[in-house]
């Protein structure tokens, strides 16, 4: 009850600040669309020179990319932790958060959230839908349910990994560039995994499981049963990585000493 009211309160606050700067919202929307557009142009142009990508057709690759955008949008909306180090550690806002009677991670997430990024999910669904309509995808009654579970699982994988990386700031206040590096690793998850070498496939499955964000669930929805077992463990992987993230965060909070005096 306490937390529900808290989340609602934060959300109202968020709406107020956002409505004050409507122009920024529009700009972000356009640049996001442009960015996704470029990736689609790449796929479209590439397929004018080949019929398949390691066995995947143009529509399938576009479907996978569109699917990837959905969990990624959920992640981007609620785990907007990019300048945590700058804002909370160096400028000391963490001390304020820690004096309050709610879990510190939840506060930080609510203060930094950017629900406008969910627009990316709409783009993703549109891209996915367009690709699905041009193919014979067999939809079962439980597919939408699984879709939801997959999306939450995928977002949790991303969120868990980023919370873990963000927690590094709690141990040392020097800036690290691991987050942008991880962002680029994450991009590997939006293409069919069998185009990569075995080592990369292993890493994307068991070490930095970004294949669970985009490829495995999407291939399952495409009725490809080569990876269906892996697709099914998506929520489990999400829980495990989110668990690691929260554990490391809590450990970091106990360790946190503040950057000032």
């Amino acid at each position: 009850m306490f937390y529900t009211r808290l989340i609602l309160g934060y959300f109202m606050q968020y709406l107020k600040t956002r409505l004050e700067y409507r122009g920024d919202f529009l700009v972000q929307l356009v640049t996001d669309l442009l960015f996704q557009g470029v990736n689609l142009v790449f796929i479209l142009v590439v397929f004018s020179h080949t019929t398949d990508l390691q066995g995947w057709t143009r529509e399938e690759v576009i479907f996978i990319y569109g699917y990837f955008l959905v969990p990624f949008a959920v992640f981007a909306a609620f785990f907007n932790l990019w300048d945590f180090n700058e804002r909370y550690i160096i400028r000391g806002e963490m001390d304020r958060v820690l004096t309050r009677p709610a879990h510190s991670l939840l506060q930080v997430i609510l203060e930094t959230m950017a629900p406008e990024s969910l627009i990316g999910a709409v783009t993703g669904l549109a891209v996915m839908g367009w690709a699905a309509m041009r193919m014979d995808v067999d939809w079962s009654w439980y597919d939408p349910l699984l879709f939801l579970v997959f999306v939450i699982g995928g977002a949790a994988v991303y969120g868990g990994i980023y919370i873990t990386l963000t927690s590094i700031s709690l141990f040392s206040d020097s800036k690290t560039d691991i987050q942008p590096i991880m962002y680029n690793v994450g991009n590997y998850g939006r293409y069919p995994i069998n185009i990569y070498s075995k080592v990369i496939q292993f890493v994307l499955t068991w070490v930095l499981p970004f294949a669970f964000v985009g490829f495995y669930p999407a291939s399952f929805l495409l009725d490809d049963d080569r990876w269906s077992i892996l697709a099914m463990v998506t929520p489990l992987v999400g829980v495990v990585y989110m668990g690691i993230g929260i554990t490391v965060w809590n450990w970091g909070i106990r360790n946190y000493r503040g950057a000032g005096n």
């Binding site: 122009g23 920024d24 700009v27 972000q28 356009v30 640049t31 442009l34 960015f35 470029v38 142009v41 790449f42 142009v45 590439v46 004018s48 020179h49 080949t50 398949d52 990508l53 390691q54 560039d177 691991i178 942008p180 590096i181 680029n184 690793v185 991009n187 590997y188 293409y191 069919p192 185009i195 990569y196 070498s197 990369i200």
Partner: protein, 264 residues
Amino acid sequence: MLNTYLELIRIRFLMMLAYRVNYYSGIIIYSLNIGVYYFLWMAIYGDAGSIRDMTAVQMATYIAVAWMSRAFYFNNLDREIAREIRDGTVAVQLIRPYHYLGVKMAQGFGEGLFRLLLFSVPGMAVVSLVFPIELPGIGERWLWFVVSLLIGFVINSQINMFTGLMAFYIMNNEGLIRAKRVIVDLLSGLILPISFYPEWAQRILTYLPFQAISYQPSTILAKGMARGEIAHVLLTQWIWAVVLWIPIQLLWIHARRRLIVQGG
């Protein structure tokens, strides 16, 4: 006068050197990008020996060269100029006895030089160990590549300056800067060699300066070009580099008149 600019290049180079640790992560990020495009292109090639007159090995080399060149020509002049306009420091720059845009270009070059030596060169060494790429031996091709890349740097910086100067008119041009970055990456041939675009798109792109930034220098090195073709490429690059100064100068002259700095 030239000494002033040389000194500016030197100072920016030394300034970057002081923060060199920041660049090690850059090498990793660029290598990751090269990696994802390498695998994508190899899957596209499949069993095909060559597509659009480019073999798979040439493509791999092209990706590596294009990304490592980006480390050199990429700079944040757009952000820097926009910031100086917003916080008013541009007013101080205006009373100094040099050309503001020339200074920016020199600073960008100092930064580029730094990245070339401490980023692109070691990065290229790493990448050539990991991926099967084929670089030509020391010779003429390298020379033309360097000349072409330098002009590419100038053109990219000019586009950055133009975007940055727009801050005189649009106070928050952060979105414009990001959009420009995405467009340049696409149309310069970095993620997609121009020869792979459909015919109609290629025709449009010949009338735009973007391919001079990445596609032309990278092709000279990765695939090679006939002498005559190289001469043609270098000539069009030069023409663009000269022509692009006109809108920038006009914008600069017009914008200066409407500069309002708040506070003192």
